[in-house]
């Protein structure tokens, strides 16, 4: 129970000191600064933060999906193989078979003029060198796996013939076609209704349970995190500001941004006549360079001179477990929800 790093023998993905910046017309924009995270076999890690916090860029950098203009430094190791700076041909072997992605809007990720069976089959024909017939049969199995009823019939459907939830299930089927060890799901349920979302989250959980897939789920929805994640990474302005097992994070946030996010969302049983939502004043900054300071200081109720003069490191918080936070003045252990 000392300060042992989270990585154990089963760590599949190891990200260290990842930084990403983009040159733009008005100068460089720093999107990610020194992000670190581990993903163990069969683990679901949730990455949370508001738009502009660098969640998606972090996710896409894992298998080199960022545009060529992005400057990426640091290290992302998949089972020991370095992916940052790897050649495109090497990355191509990794994508699909080792790492797969699911994006937010399935309609823009699916080809509208091919049946879903062809699209899933294509993955198998390219990566697994399957025959077209075998790929088709496997596509039916995959559609069944992700909970699409009458898969033998639906395999011939075009994307527009399916509902949003079905399309997202097709995306998941494509993503897991080659049995990847790591699945990156970027806001997979954001475009969907809650009753459909519940089904998609169930599919992701099933995949983890049955195939042992490790999942990095990127979302801004704390409810989704509470439902599915084993561990949580909170990002703010390109930095990881807190990292903890899910129950620890919700029960005892150390970073003021995490605490702010948790108390900003309405709680069951609360009405405006008796309660008020906590607001986080200000905006997520767009940074050209990462300052040696806490980037949340301008919005933080606890910030002082120290926060503006040096960046707090991500350190073990509290009683030395798997809970890390980057804050000079961590939140006191306040019972936010003393009597619910």
């Amino acid at each position: 129970m000392t300060t042992a790093p989270a990585s154990t023998a089963t760590t599949v993905l190891e990200m260290r000191d990842l930084s990403v910046s983009f040159p733009t017309e008005t100068g460089t924009v720093s999107a990610v600064d020194g992000a670190a995270l581990d993903l163990a076999a069969g683990e679901i890690v949730g990455m949370v933060g508001e738009s502009g916090c660098g969640k998606s860029v972090t996710g896409m950098s894992i298998a080199g999906l960022l545009p060529g203009s992005a400057r990426v430094t640091g290290s992302v190791r998949l089972n020991g193989t370095e992916l940052v700076g790897a050649r495109e041909s090497a990355l191509r072997r990794v994508r699909g078979r080792e790492i797969a992605y699911i994006f937010q809007e399935p309609m823009t990720s699916l080809n509208p003029v091919l049946t879903v069976g062809r699209q899933i089959g294509e993955v198998l024909q390219v990566h697994e060198r399957m025959s077209r017939r075998a790929a088709h049969a496997r596509a039916v199995e995959l559609l069944t796996l992700v909970g699409i009823p009458s898969a033998t019939h639906r395999v011939g459907a075009y994307p527009h013939q399916l509902s949003g939830g079905m399309r997202q299930r097709v995306m998941i089927a494509m993503a897991v076609a080659c049995g990847p060890k790591v699945l990156v799901a970027d806001e997979p349920t954001t475009a969907l209704d809650v009753t459909v979302q519940a089904g998609i989250l169930q599919v992701l959980r099933d995949l983890r349970d049955r195939l042992g897939t490790s999942i990095l789920i990127i979302t801004h929805d704390l409810g989704v995190i509470a439902d599915i994640a084993d561990r949580v990474v909170v990002m703010y302005a390109g930095r990881v500001v807190e990292r903890a097992p899910v129950t620890d994070l919700f029960a005892r946030p150390y970073h003021h941004y995490t605490a702010g996010l948790l108390s900003a969302s309405p709680k069951p049983g609360r009405h405006a006549s008796t309660a008020r939502l906590a607001e986080i004043p200000g905006l997520v900054p767009v940074l050209s360079t990462q300052p040696d300071a806490c980037t949340f200081a301008d919005r933080c109720p606890a910030a002082d001179a120290r926060c503006r003069e040096s960046a707090p490191p991500l350190e073990v918080a509290g009683d030395g477990t798997d809970h890390l936070a980057a804050c000079w003045h961590p939140c006191p252990p306040q019972p936010r929800e003393a009597n619910r």
């Binding site: 508001e50 738009s51 009823p149 509902s163 949003g164 939830g165 079905m166 299930r169 209704d193 809650v194 009753t195 459909v196 979302q197 519940a198 089904g199 989250l201 169930q202 801004h220 929805d221 704390l222 409810g223 989704v224 995190i225 509470a226 439902d227 994640a229 899910v246 129950t247 919700f250 029960a251 702010g260 996010l261 948790l262 900003a264 969302s265 309405p266 709680k267 069951p268 049983g269 609360r270 009405h271 405006a272 006549s273 309660a275 008020r276 939502l277 906590a278 607001e279 986080i280 905006l283 997520v284």
Partner: protein, 333 residues
């Protein structure tokens, strides 16, 4: 307070777009100063109800009364005197604010349209208190929408909607395009303004946590029809309709310990087509408790308090099975 007319009365509202039956017989009343949330999934027709109320579209059938006046089939010119009584705030402030107008012009626009021409010199003085009321500095009047953040733009939309002191505000997913921390400030603002000014509000949303925070009453819509109505307390504590129950069960709570103790209710994925809605009860194709009668007979609206639930399984006293706990095989035996 005694004899103020209802802010909104909708009777048997029908809105068909060609063969698409977007709204199919919705009745809803909002008393002055009350907040009613209209909840449903995408495709349920909830936004179309809002658009009928502000008469962005002319209803196919039914009656819409605003502050007691029937506006259902009024022409644009005839509508003008009633425009002050109702305003709308849309989901995406970036798309609903004219990018070439200054914020001051945007906020003063409803006054101009109502025939109350505001000279440019006076505009700032007229607009300043409106902006301050929504938490913006008066200088914002000289900015363009693109210079503002998403949350600030939504505040401008709210200021524009309230400048005519309407009796009824339609808020159509006003926070859905915003980040959590910004959502909180917009929800707080709406709650404060509603309390201070006392307008009635039709709050259209799919976000149940926001509903519980803001609404007095709740109406649940499914495929063009209302399936349940009731007070916030009753709907959250004792939802009667299986769809309401499923919706409440599906919305995850931001608390991992409680969330993982909850029993998931998984409906099928597909909202049936509004071109050809199911016979009988429209929810029956996804309802875990559906039985024969549901396919053949339209469910009655069983009164519950001031509200109702439209389900064959809800008994006359308002009780019935709960899909969150019930075993479907035992419900009918």
């Amino acid at each position: 307070m005694t004899s103020r007319p209802n802010a909104l009365e909708i009777e048997d509202l029908v809105m068909h777009f060609g063969p698409v039956r977007a709204v199919d017989g919705v009745s809803l009343t909002i008393a002055a100063g009350r907040v009613t949330a209209l909840v449903g999934e995408s495709g349920s027709g909830k936004s179309t109800v809002g658009r009928c109320v502000v008469r962005l579209v002319e209803p196919t059938a039914g009656v819409v009364r605003i502050a007691g006046a029937d506006v259902t089939h009024l022409s644009r010119r005839q509508l003008r005197p009633h425009r002050d009584a109702v305003s709308i705030v849309f989901q995406d402030p970036a798309a609903s604010l004219d990018p070439r107008m200054l914020v001051g012009e945007i906020v003063a626009e409803p006054l101009r349209l109502a025939g109350r021409r505001v000279p440019r010199r006076e505009r700032e003085a007229r607009v300043a208190p409106q902006l301050e009321r929504v938490g913006l500095r008066a200088e914002v009047a000289r900015r363009y929408p693109h210079e503002l953040s998403g949350g600030q733009r939504q505040r401008v939309s709210i200021a524009r909607a309230l400048v005519s002191e309407p009796m009824l505000l339609i808020a159509d997913e006003p926070t859905s395009a915003l980040d959590v921390s910004v959502q909180a400030s917009v929800l707080n603002l709406l709650a404060d303004l509603q309390r201070d000014i006392g307008f009635a509000c039709l709050f259209i949303t799919h976000d149940l946590s926001a509903v519980e925070y803001l609404a007095d009453d709740i109406a649940v819509m499914y495929l063009g029809q209302l399936v349940e109505k009731g007070s916030r307390e009753r709907i959250f504590a004792r939802p009667a309709h299986p769809y309401t129950q499923a919706l409440l069960a599906a919305a995850p709570v931001a608390d991992p310990v409680r969330q993982r103790q909850r029993q998931p209710v998984l409906l099928g994925d597909d909202l049936p087509s509004a071109l050809d809605p199911p016979s009988g009860c429209r929810f029956r194709t996804r309802c875990p408790l559906a039985f024969d009668t549901c396919a053949t007979e339209v469910p009655p609206q069983v009164p519950i308090g001031d509200g109702m639930a439209a389900c064959h399984l809800v008994r006359p006293d308002g009780t019935g099975p709960d899909v969150r706990t019930a075993d479907p095989s035992e419900v009918l035996s």
